[in-house]
Symmetry: C3
Subunit: 166 residues, 3 copies
Amino acid sequence: MTALSAYLQVPAKSISVDSLWLVGVVSLASGFQLAGFARRVGEARKKYKVYPPRVDGDEGFVRCFRAQQNCLEFYPIFLVTTWLAAIFFHQLPAAVLAVFYILERESYFTSYSRDAEARRKPFYRTVYAIQGLALLAALGLFNVMVRQLCGRNLIQTIIDVITLPI
Amino acid sequence: MTALSAYLQVPAKSISVDSLWLVGVVSLASGFQLAGFARRVGEARKKYKVYPPRVDGDEGFVRCFRAQQNCLEFYPIFLVTTWLAAIFFHQLPAAVLAVFYILERESYFTSYSRDAEARRKPFYRTVYAIQGLALLAALGLFNVMVRQLCGRNLIQTIIDVITLPI
Amino acid sequence: MTALSAYLQVPAKSISVDSLWLVGVVSLASGFQLAGFARRVGEARKKYKVYPPRVDGDEGFVRCFRAQQNCLEFYPIFLVTTWLAAIFFHQLPAAVLAVFYILERESYFTSYSRDAEARRKPFYRTVYAIQGLALLAALGLFNVMVRQLCGRNLIQTIIDVITLPI
């Protein structure tokens, strides 16, 4: 139970570099991914001869462009849930889910660029990842709220009760 | 004056979970709102039969889509000003203004989906919310800057002067 | 060597307001810039008589609109790399590069609004700024990672070795 207890540790009162570096690495990776998507849209512009400022033309380009736009639309939601989960819950599960999200986004972009229908499956998986991150964030925030309003650390209390007979 | 003094407290030197949980909750709520807008655009796609990757067609769909795009355009500005206000000033007024912003965005999306002209009033109110958040952030940052450059805590000094005769 | 050592200081274990205020100021400025771009697109709507929800029409408007969209696309990447560089490396070089990015974005928006070809040079310079920020972030994150996994502070070790003969 010590492992569980250590894992579900109460968020430290002050936010430290060492409790966030994992999601820092993942965020940097996600930034590189977005930069890569922007580059691939640029290549699609050349391939399908759709020059700025135009954004319509061959459907091959439009699919690629819309894939990028959808990634950009969800990026703030992804970032917010990842960092809230890391700050208020724990960075390890947040980083795992965020890596899953990034991999599925890669699959989404590649699939959508080929065929609009193929975008569905990886898209749903990115939604599951975000739902997981939101759940972690909500749990962590709920814990801080209870501690603030009732002076009790909920997660610590639950762990104490569970580990009582051991 | 103690209440005012406590309220306008100097930002703690280290950023803690307990001084940010309110804007954490609000940010999570705003993430859910954006996800809801994305879902409503998806429903408008079905209703008006505008299938990806297309983004033009019936004006009913285009209004709904542009409403979402405008919310997304302002989301980073909203997030940045909210968190700067919370970190460098205080999370309570930041959270209040952020909740106001979220409610007006809901009104904006619903109004714009019905009628392009009706988007104006709630839009202006979201701008006021962001201006308020930016003002709080600027005050807090200015205080840290003065403390760093002149070794004086401005807000504390003002409070001291005000409370002198009491 | 003391100056270098102080400059390349190990990121503090807890993240403090005083080690982030510079990028706070820069982020607030970048928020104002985006708001200004949104306003200029609004003015272009009036000038070229392109009323919401439409986003196509005279190429003068489309260029201005696409300039804004491109700024928005890169804004999350810019913010993430700036804050990672500030948190995990040091806020001073992060803020300098971020100011450079903001100035080049201003030049980009103005140039693109006039002529689609003129957008290239300032755009490439914003990419260099982001690459520099990503490099700083990667260095800082790598240092924390090494400290976490090997119990060694890499940057401190290097400084110690360099300053040995002095």
